[in-house]
């Protein structure tokens, strides 16, 4: 009995491995392309104030901001009107781009090494990387999902997920004042000089 289930398991793994490897490789390749693109833009831009705008188009192509915003807001998202969802997505996009670009210092090029990507669920791939930046080592995991092409849906730095972090903040905003409160708090964050 045991042997048969073991055989079934081994067989299932063998069957799964083909397409799984293809998708992880595809996701990783897409990520490398995206990272190289953003880094080369960041490398050319010496003015830190203009960096967010400079990298914006490249990030728009490679990040799924709709997915990010929906998950950052949490279960309350379903109670947003279409207009509110659109507005929240626009505000959150600006916030994410700013958060991301604020991590760069002009003239400092990070060195990234990619580690074996894993696929925790169908249509999802996590790519762990090691980053050496200004002499310090960081572990950064990119979470990617397939929606047509592969897109980044979260960045986890030293175990800290950007989306989980916003979820904890926005979920409590929703609970205290609904969609209006979430949008207002996002507006305030965007208006605040970074």
């Amino acid at each position: 009995m045991k042997r048969r289930s073991l055989f079934a398991l081994v067989f299932a793994v063998l069957c799964l491995q083909g397409p799984m490897q293809a998708s992880t490789a595809e996701a990783e390749q897409q990520l490398r392309k995206a990272v190289d693109e953003v880094l080369s833009i960041a490398d050319r831009e010496s003015d830190k104030g203009k960096l967010a705008e400079a990298v914006r188009p490249a990030l728009m192509r490679n990040i799924s901001f709709e997915t990010m915003t929906r998950r950052a807001v949490g279960p309350g998202w379903k109670l947003f009107s279409a207009a509110q969802q659109k507005q929240a997505t626009q505000l959150f996009t600006t916030l994410v781009i700013r958060t991301y670009s604020s991590k760069f210092t002009p003239g400092e090029r990070p060195v990234m090494s990619y580690q074996a990507a894993v696929s925790p669920a169908a249509g999802r791939v996590d790519v762990p990387t090691k980053l050496v930046y200004k002499g310090s080592r960081y572990s950064v995991t990119y979470r990617m999902e397939q929606a047509g092409s592969w897109k980044i849906v979260d960045v986890v730095i030293e175990g800290v997920s950007m989306i989980a972090n916003y979820r904890s903040q926005l979920d409590s905003q929703f609970k205290s004042g609904g969609a209006a409160s979430v949008i207002k708090s996002l507006e305030q964050s965007v208006a605040r000089p970074s």
């Binding site: 669920a121 080592r137 999902e145 175990g159 800290v160 708090s185 970074s194």
Partner: protein
């Protein structure tokens, strides 16, 4: 000699105390494949960011301390940190960081061993030996050039408590030191006691004999990195207090799992 003994006693008694009032910690908005994707909290089938409330019964007090700390950082400690960065060239700061991290070897070694991670404890010995001898007393981090030694996860006392199954207790914002939990605060005391940079000061306890210098230098050299992390958790936040708390819980959870 009196000081370390009493510190050790305080540490031991708080561990006993903690284990009695241990409550299982609840990680905040955990990101990881283990969390169920199909709870009512999920926004779609791949969403695994279910928000779990952290234990923060002292929130009003914590928020007040958070605000106080923020003021102290801005007006007192950040200027110190900036001055340190201005007067010390980067290679020197790098060397000091490396040396102090190297000296901290007992913290990592003892806690790796206490968690039964003997392989890791062995690697720590290798790192310490290599960096001390080939790295001129730890000024250069030679171990980074060896892949097997470059990413040894640093263990600390709070992680040992977690490994032993001690509950985290409530979230606390400590004056000056910032975010922690009751358990992790006791862990900090353990790290302090195990760090040779503090031994001179802890043993003498007198300001006159200059034994406080390594301990103070260690705290100053840590500032730029700590403030840049703190500022990053605060920047672009909707609620900085919640953001810093979330970053704390997520980061500690990741360290405990390694």
């Amino acid at each position: 000699m009196k000081k370390p003994t009493s510190l050790l006693f305080a540490l031991a008694s708080s561990v006993v105390l903690l284990s009695h009032c241990a409550t299982k910690p609840q990680p905040e908005a955990a990101a990881g494949p283990k969390t169920a994707a199909t709870t009512s909290e999920a926004t779609d089938e791949l969403d695994d960011y279910a928000v779990v409330q952290v234990s923060d019964p002292l929130e009003p007090l914590n928020r007040a301390t958070f605000k106080l700390n923020d003021g102290l950082y801005s007006y007192l400690f950040k200027p110190v940190s900036k001055t340190y960065e201005t007067v010390t060239p980067r290679p020197v700061r790098r060397g000091l960081d490396n040396a102090f991290e190297n000296i901290k070897f007992p913290v990592r070694f003892v806690n790796s061993a206490l968690q039964g991670k003997f392989d890791r404890a062995g690697k720590e010995v290798g790192k310490f030996g290599l960096n001390t001898i080939a790295g001129v007393g730890g000024l250069f981090k030679k171990s980074d050039e060896i892949p097997a030694l470059a990413d040894v996860s640093a263990e600390d006392t709070a992680q040992t408590f977690a490994e032993w199954g001690l509950g985290q207790g409530p979230y606390v914002v400590l004056p000056l030191l910032g975010p922690s939990t009751v358990r992790d605060a006791v862990g900090l005391a353990g790290d302090y006691a195990l760090n040779p940079a503090n031994w001179g000061f802890a043993a003498q306890g007198s300001v006159r004999d200059l034994a406080w210098i390594p301990s103070l230098a260690n705290n100053i050299r840590l500032m730029p990195d700590q403030f840049s992390r703190y500022d990053e958790s605060k920047a672009n936040a909707v609620d900085p207090y919640v953001s810093v708390r979330s970053v704390y819980y997520q980061n500690r959870k990741a360290l405990e799992e390694q």
